[in-house]
Symmetry: C2
């Protein structure tokens, strides 16, 4: 399981810390050394310009490809993978152009296991070539129609050729999780013996579950000495979890694309992987990647492929750090770690405590009162909260509505007046006072239930 030319063998050891040096346990699962795991030592092969080009909406011209490549390089990805130069003449030229940029990231291109493609690829100036061939019975029958003997022979020919040019070579199967295990291990061992830099496992159809991934990667880790790259499609929602589990099992490289764009609904998203990995090793992730650039890169790519950032996107989605239920808000205000495993500040973002709903609580309103620089006692804030909750029970409130109610309540308290809170939301043409009276009549005037909106 030692790695000769990869990063696996050397670095898992450095992760081990004697008991005295380890940080205090946060959970029963943290702090036990795992020599197989690379969650604190992984590399990203960023494939927005290859897998991402296979996204339905993607058309990247040369200038856009260069802009994306530079942004990814600045972010700190280890590799940038490009569409095969054999795909089209412009693809070849773009590949050459990006190789000439002098980026810190290594440039790869992704080709069929075929000498024609390999010859074109090595002439572009890339730092490495990713070779792939379908090994499942599905693909052997319906795609290229070749048997395993042919796959072995052509793999060896292409690998020897690329190696002779002095650049990196990866050999990957396609649809690995529907391939015969013995066939897979046999070809991986053969190419490892020739001396590939990496072998690749690909869940091409997005069928694999995390435990399958762990089993296959761990098994492979015992068969080859080289690095292990993994590529996960997200059709069944496991692309991030599978990448993480692959690292736990000894994989060294993860394929990503910005927003996960790729064939069908795509692959492991760069941002989602960052969310996952920063929880595993914040220092490693923050030390290596410019996380505060994530939002800009996502906006760049989203605009290029004409999609909106999904509302529920990892980290950068509009509500990723929004807390709504009363009890969440209360605890978040006391200590953000209660309901946040990722710190938004690590990504240059801020949290938002939602307070304009019937699920709100007096702690959230108290925080808002402070933000508005008003002064109310806790008892007054609780009364004001009760009024807000009653109104929010009847219709959707926005921040301005709640601010108006708070200000009006504050004004009444301070001046001893009894101006109806109706005025506070009068612009919405809803008779708030009547609504409030109705709510009182329903017997919900007894105190505040901010924690009753319970959640987990």
């Amino acid at each position: 399981m030692a790695s000769t030319n990869g990063t696996n063998g050397a670095d898992v050891k450095k992760d081990f810390k004697p008991l005295g040096e380890r940080p205090p346990l946060r959970s029963p699962y943290v702090g036990v050394p795992d020599f197989l795991s690379n969650v604190s030592n992984f590399k990203i092969i960023e494939s927005t310009l290859r897998e991402g080009e296979q996204f339905a909406n993607a058309f990247f011209d040369t200038a856009k490809k260069i802009e994306i490549a530079k942004a990814l390089d600045d972010f700190g990805v280890d590799y940038i993978e490009l569409t095969s130069p054999a795909a089209s003449e412009q693809s070849r030229k773009d590949c050459e152009a990006i190789c000439k940029l002098g980026l810190k990231a290594k440039i790869l291109t992704h080709i069929r296991c075929h000498m024609d493609d390999a010859r074109i690829a090595v002439d572009t100036g890339v730092d490495g070539v990713d070779v792939v061939i379908g090994t499942s019975s599905f693909l052997r029958e319906h795609s290229h129609g070749k048997d395993m003997d042919y796959i072995h022979r052509s793999a060896i020919e292409v690998i020897e050729f690329v190696k002779s040019k002095g650049i990196e070579i990866r050999f990957s199967s396609e649809d690995s999780f529907r391939s015969d295990l013995v066939d897979l291990l046999s070809i991986y061992r053969a190419v490892d013996k020739i001396g590939v830099n990496r072998v690749g496992i690909a869940d091409t159809v997005g069928c694999a579950g995390p435990r399958q991934v762990y089993d296959l990667v761990r098994t492979l880790r015992g068969v080859v000495h080289c690095d292990i790259e993994t590529h996960f499609h997200n059709d069944t929602g496991c692309a991030i979890a599978n990448a993480y589990t692959a690292l736990e099992a000894g994989a060294t490289h993860i394929d990503t694309s910005v927003l996960g764009i790729g064939e069908r609904n795509g692959i492991t998203p760069l941002g989602g992987l960052m969310a996952r990995m920063i929880v595993a090793d914040r220092d490693y992730v923050r030390g290596k990647y410019k996380l505060e650039k994530l939002r800009d890169i996502e906006n760049l790519v989203a605009e290029a492929v004409e999609v909106n950032i999904p509302f529920n996107n990892y980290i950068t989605g509009f509500c990723a750090f929004t807390h709504k239920a009363g009890i969440h808000a209360k605890a978040i205000l006391a200590n953000p770690s209660t309901y946040e495993i990722v710190n938004p500040a690590d990504f240059g973002l801020t949290r938002y405590v939602h307070f304009a709903s019937r699920l709100t609580g007096w702690n959230a309103i108290k925080s808002r009162v402070d933000q508005l620089d008003l002064s109310l006692t806790d008892a007054q804030i609780k009364e004001c909260t009760a009024k807000i909750k009653q109104l929010a029970d009847v219709r959707s409130l926005n921040v301005d509505d709640v601010d108006s109610i708070i200000r009006q309540y504050h004004f009444n308290v301070k001046t001893g007046s009894n101006t109806p809170l109706l005025d506070a939301v009068g612009r919405n043409e809803i008779d708030a006072e009547t609504l409030l009276k109705k709510a009182h009549a329903n017997g919900n005037g007894n105190g505040v239930n901010e924690e009753a909106a319970k959640c987990c």
Copy 2:
């Protein structure tokens, strides 16, 4: 590990089939009986009307709640979970209203571990009460401030009370994956002995990885006899994978919401879970849930909370069944299973083979020629494909562009004329003929590289 009042014990056995009766193996991982796994026997607790109400944008009035509850019931979810009736007066009334609908799904409400809330809950007519209390040191310190002894005592009091009313009772910890394991197992065993229907594990902050989930659920499976419910937030991208892994470890119930809406970026989405589970057991999932209704339910909820369906949404995202790279298209046209693990027809949807890009191939164009009811030889289709790829290298093409080129090419072939393909895209004010000449001058006129746009 036997289940006395749950579904686990009885049904794992029925999943076992003697070797002779098992379907042919599709991979090394399929077909080995796993007595612990419930992937073929799970229940859904649908929480759009509880967790989903905690989504930043959510405000459901009574009519909308009823509409959503009916749609979920029609879809076939086993349980519908509602916001605590203690949260607000309208929440209580809505809970009563939904209980009176006479749905097939059981109605639950979700409350704090507190007698005040329990008394209100049991009077609404619900079929069961989900009780929750924070057990992590974070929540014990910063949220409710209670110690484990207090939690034990209040849990027992509330559980005995709810049981005395003859309805279902679940006891869940909150933030389970940052709670002390011994504390957790101790309280779960205690409430199991009293006779709860389910215990719940909640990854409240979305920090858990699949292997942690497997370990904790499997451990718990050995400690309690009752059913095990699980609730996973998606902050770090593992909510679907964790749900799946929990079922593998013996969990019986999964919490979902439509589109995953909930606190922050939400929980396991109903649609995403369907995608995952149909791969595990298509017959079970199709037999139990009206999958063809998924899109309508998602649209209903998306409209109610004013979000767009994410471009990369599971199953219903616009590109979930779109195939673009040439080699994908070739194989998909021969056999959809090559690059699809989920059959779109199971959800009343169709696949789309993208052919208007430089990554296209002649198999995709041949398929389009057939759809247009035109007649061309393979050699002619290859030549036409080369022209399309050259043009697509220069700018983004849409379906109309490509159809025009195909039709013009077909016209030229059939009439012996040589009308420039320029006309085909003339409406776009781009000089296609010049572009084609330029592309030819670049030496890319030699055959078709439909498979060179390789991918996995």
